[in-house]
Amino acid sequence: MARYLTHRLLALLPVMAVVVTIVFLLIHLIPGDPVSVMLGPDATEVQIEATRRAMGLDRPIHEQLLLFYSRILRGDLGQSYFLDRPVTTALWERAEPTLVLTFSALLVAVIIGVPSGILAGAYRGSLWDRTLMTGALMGVCIPGFWLSLNFIYLFAVQLGWLPAAGYTSLFVDPMATLRHMVLPAVSLGFNQSALIARIARSCMLEVLQQDYIRTARAKGLSQQAVVYEHAFRNAMVPVTTVIGITMAILIGGAVVTEIVFNIPGLGRLIISAILRRDYPVVQGVVLVTAAAYVLINLVVDMVYAFIDPRIRYE
């Protein structure tokens, strides 16, 4: 296991190097002079020159890249021009709502997705199977942000059951956090539950065709015992991977959901940073989410290797 872990960690280095390079290049994709774009039309020549020097943009590009690497390695993501503080500070301030949203949506996705998939797979071709899989198809097709708006209209505007927007910190009032999270988490998690349900179903079908299931049936075990004691656990092995991938996708989805529900997280941070042309913040959010994405995938692979020893020896 230790050898596998080391191997996987080493494989991350080139990926992260490419990620950092792409984030670095973002500034250079800006058409024209990035500094004058950033400072707007009112900036003087002197200001532009000073900012350019402060950002190191006056140096040759390979030097800039090396500088960027060394700054990232020191954990320095630069300075936000608009918020007037280091980007890392701004990220820390906005991380809580995004994390809470991502985890609650994951919870929703798993709670809906896993039982639906297992049920549909166990009773293939039944009315349950067809209903659940039609639901899953709709779950894949309905855009999450549109679902959010419909939820707001129905549950907040018409029925008045839940708040339409906003966020209360978990450390201030957990009950209020919960009330604020219900609609965002359900609308974000619903799409992903569909993916989990489809995979869980096909894993279940595959497991149910194995010889040991036939043996279990031949022993005279009931359908329930076969499904829940023998098939379920084995079908869950690949599903764990999907749950991990889901988590990574949810980080991206959270950005959009935060805009709909006015949640002050990383998503709102990046969108407002784009509108203010605060590029260091854009770079910071993209880099941090990509790093989180890569780490989650690593953890998922580790869990998978832990559950299924065959993976380690490949």
């Binding site: 800006i30 855009p143 590029y279 990509a290």
Partner: protein, 300 residues
Amino acid sequence: MSDMMQERSQNQPPDATAATARNRRPRWMRRLLRHPNVVFGSLIFLGLLLVALFADTLSTHKPTRLFPANRLTAPSVQNYLGTDEFGRDVYSLVLHGSRVSLIVGGVTMLLTSLGGVVIGLAAGYSRRLDPVIMRFMDGLMAFPAILLAIALMAARGPGVWNVIVALSIVYMPRTAMLIRSTVLSLRELDYVQAARALGRRDLTLAYRHILPNCMGPLLVQGTFIFAYAVLAEAILGFLGVGVPPYVPSWGNVIASGKNTIREAYWVSFFPGAALTLAGLSLNLLGDGLRDTLDPRLRVQ
């Protein structure tokens, strides 16, 4: 009437020829036409395509015309799907929005397929290029797709072409990896080895023997990328970083409906329903194509 009958009988081949024509159809096509998902998905998609083509004729109003006195009116005979906060006709906006969606989806599909084939073939063929290309693709895949698209749009600014380029960069690695893995498994097969032993050059080998066998997976992947791109375009528009706000697109209209959701549900509801329909048609088509063309990927 009789003219029509005559014409039909002239166009209609005798039964025997019809039967052979049917038999001459390749087996995969017959299988496709029997698959309900494919038929249903293509019909919806065809409908959308017609709407996009004839949006000007079908519209009752000019979609970009602002009419503030008529803002936020509910669906009625004058405005089938109501009006938005600027008094624009939602029905005409939805019809015209399909154009942006289909153009972005279609061109992104073409660009990712083209780029994916070139990169995938290069990686699958050249043992020297492979690690470099694949590390770069891994790096691109390490970003959450929508975030990378947002970041690219942030740098390049709003615009239809910028959306297409951003989404093509985001989704290209998936196609490239698919083609690479197909090439890797194909190039060890006997018939490819035989062609190589006959002295065929690498490029001929790739074009004549490998590429045709990649078409099935490529088409399936392309359909799903079409679906992702339509959705991603709407998301970018909704966030205000996609096509410019004055261009009628589903995402832009939904964004304007978000501001007025308390008074007027219809502004965001109908473009969203159109988006869902487009997603449904492409997903049905993709699932069906996968079942018929690429049995390896079949979900039972």
